[in-house]
């Protein structure tokens, strides 16, 4: 069960416990830091589900709200307990998962028990749930002033009419007011079952210890029946090709998106994702002719970047940055895609890009956080992350062209622009 990956000089232990929990351990002998992620396959987009035969539609923002409230335990202060153990703890909610994690250099076993315990212990009172509204309302206001978030949310609103990615992860002031202890309990029961979760540890630890502790702390059975909406029928054309608004920004900024077919699960899907990444690189990456030309013309600057992004049920090629002429950048990208589709790219360039992408991914394994996160995210997508070197082998230029031909078209394209307010 401990597998060695010679091309990366990494090991991974993977198992499923009798209660359904997936455990992954990446041993890192000789390092002092240990990092553990406890992840549920439940994020901001998962508001429609059936639990034990009853249908539910939860208020927008519930996954994030639940993440905040899980840190409450009766008569205990979870953060203080982690701190006393010398550990850092935190959590985040994305569109499709929620992750709780800690890192420590000592007391690993106590920290792991605490993580598993607090995430699996729902404790919500009317008073504490109401009090959280003030904090999350401030978080919503803070995010409202962030142009990066505004441009992304504006773009999603342009591009998606059905998929819930157009709804902010935090929800809205009026939806978080609807959240009650009962709703949080229901979501916890549906999605924080061991069978819906992954525990992943990177560090100088023994896999059998992790499994033993997880078996001791977590519930032994997982008998909830849950069905979850995981796909949303979307047209591939965008409903709105452009939107703009003003904010306190220094210069205009934009984000551009091209709608792509939602990614499936499994190795073939991940290979397509890697191909799409290379296509983005060939189209507007730093080594592309287009990047150099736009940079020289002053149409983009070093803030420009992009790639292929996937969220459950949706995928897109996207790029963003600051520019005084965002529409000119969009038009140049569309034109360059047509050129690549027609003329292709030379094999040497393709090989260089591939080698570079593989090298950068391998370097990234030095980061405990990125490794732990990717092990979890790729596992939930049905792929063993450490197998990535293999996926780079049999990619072809023609596949890249086919991807660009299908995706980078005016019908699939939308742009959101944030312009400075008059006094900024």
């Amino acid at each position: 069960m401990l597998k060695y990956y010679p091309r990366l000089d990494e090991q991974l232990y993977k198992t499923v416990l009798p209660n359904g929990l997936t455990v992954m351990v990446c041993p890192r002998p000789g390092f002092t830091k240990n990092l553990a992620y406890f992840v549920t396959d439940f994020g901001a987009i998962h508001t429609k589900f059936t639990l034990d035969g009853v249908e539910y539609t939860a208020p927008d923002g519930v996954a994030h709200y639940l993440e905040h409230k899980l840190f409450d335990m009766p008569g205990r202060d979870v953060s203080a307990e982690f701190a006393a153990l010398g550990a850092n703890t935190n959590a985040f909610t994305s569109y499709d998962i929620t992750a709780y994690y800690f890192s420590c250099t000592e007391n690993f076993e106590s920290c792991l028990r605490l993580l598993l315990e607090f995430v699996s212990t729902p404790y919500f009172t009317r008073e504490t749930v109401e009090k959280e509204q003030g904090i999350i309302a401030q978080e919503i206001d803070m995010t409202a002033d962030s142009p990066d978030t505004a441009v992304f949310e504006g773009l999603m609103d342009n591009m998606y009419r059905v998929h819930p990615v157009s709804i902010p992860i935090l929800g809205f002031h009026h939806t978080i007011r609807e959240i009650t202890p009962e709703i949080l309990h229901t979501c916890h029961r549906a999605f924080y079952r061991p069978g819906n979760m992954v525990l992943c540890v990177v560090g100088d630890v023994k896999p059998e210890d992790i499994c033993r502790i997880a078996s001791e702390v977590l519930p032994r059975e997982d008998n909830a029946q849950v069905q979850l909406q995981r796909s949303w029928p979307e047209e591939m054309t965008v409903p709105q090709e452009k939107s703009q608004r003003t904010m306190e920004v220094a210069m205009p900024m934009f984000q551009l998106g091209f709608k792509a077919e939602p990614r499936e699960r499994g190795e073939e899907a991940i290979r397509e994702e890697i191909l799409a990444d290379l296509a983005a690189e060939a189209l507007f990456g730093e080594s592309s002719g287009l990047y150099l030309r736009l940079y020289d013309q002053g149409l983009i600057d070093s803030s420009f970047g992009g790639g292929f992004e996937t969220i459950e049920g949706m995928a897109m090629l996207t790029c963003s940055g600051d520019s005084y002429e965002p529409e000119a950048v969009r038009d140049a990208i569309l034109e360059e895609a047509r050129r690549i589709v027609k003329e292709g790219i030379d094999q040497a360039q393709f090989d260089r890009m591939r080698r570079s992408a593989l090298g950068r991914r391998t370097k990234g394994l030095d980061s405990f956080d990125s490794t732990c996160f990717r092990l979890c995210a790729y596992h939930l997508s049905g792929f063993d992350y450490f197998d990535f070197p293999r996926l780079y082998e049999d990619l072809e230029v023609s596949q890249l062209q086919a991807f660009l031909e299908r995706v980078v078209t005016p019908q699939r394209c939308s742009i959101c622009v944030i312009r400075p307010t008059e006094n900024s």
Partner: protein, 422 residues
Amino acid sequence: MIQTVTVSPGVTLRLFHDTRFKQGCLSIQLVRPMCRQEAAKNALLSAVLLRGCQAYPDLQTITWRLDELYGASVGTLVRRVGDYQTTGLYCSFLEDRFALPGDQILEPTARLLKELLLRPKLENGVFKADFVESEKRNLVLAIEAQRNDKRAWCSAQLFSHMCREDSFGVPRLGEIEDVKAITPQSLYDHYRRILKESRMEIFYVGSADAGLVTRLCRELVEKERGYVSLPGQTAFTSAQGGAWEETMDIAQGKLSMGFVTPANIRQGKAFVATQMMNLIFGGGMTSKLFTQVREKLSLCYAISSGYHGSKGILTVSAGMDWEKKDTVRSQVLAQLEAICQGDITEAELAAARQAMLSSLRATHDSAGSIENYYATAALSGLPYSPAEYMQQVQQITAADVAEAARQVKLHSEYFLKGETGC
């Protein structure tokens, strides 16, 4: 563990041998005084160097080369370390053992660095005009874009007001008008001068043999140098404090408060006690600011404090409904006063101690954090290795923390508020 080689007067190579990582790193820093006359040029220089050299004359050929080197990356390195500003390059690359059989990464990467640093693309004997102009534009935009992050903006404004008589008041990337005044000639003259005169710090982390790395790094140094040493680090030079306000079209108000203390990084125990005091005050999820002002009173989402040890400046940064600014402000002062009065629980003290120990222990867990710790410590005057540092941390008592808090005095404030009537 760390090996230090004096390459020539003023040029130090530090080698940290480690075989655990997938990537190695090599950084080169030219050390300059942080001052208005140079800040913009130093910030601009490394960006211009990365635009092209004689061997790789444009962005595309450089990127192609980096792609061939298995996705190696070279970036600008512009740091503020107390009264110093460093300008240079930071490079990270895959360890040779992950390359295809027969391929090398370290050696060709070091050669590429040499080309970028010492043989820039020239035109009429100076930097190429369009490289300079487009990087000037980028830098101006980067400076202007600081306004986009309201919390960082508020804090930067606090520094520029509070520290107007100190090098800390000079913005790290320079002032816009200074950037605009730079010419290819003036930047090139500056480059030639600082290449010869500056203290130079080269740092390597990775698995390669020290002899090989030393040989490669000697190549990164100009042959004929005339080293001019820098004055030492100084304590904060204070100007008259005050409270400033700015109005923006925003949903949430931001408050930055600046405090001063005589305790700085060069002072051993008082410095470490102040660091622990900062953690107890506003350094994380168990701090007084977080637990009282956020969790108990629900006044803020983000509230924290930071300690700038090289100058002895402590700041508090908070985002709140702007009508509640005075409440937040008085709560911040009340929490500080509580620490002065010795209201520090065993748990708070232990948490701060553990947090510091954990972070010091983990220093050696990545090439980047190793480089950051040692390359910065060498300049700031921090007198400890991580192990010595940890010993100091073990000895700090609650009384030391309260004493450190009593040295902290409010100096200035900056408040960013929404437009009236919103």
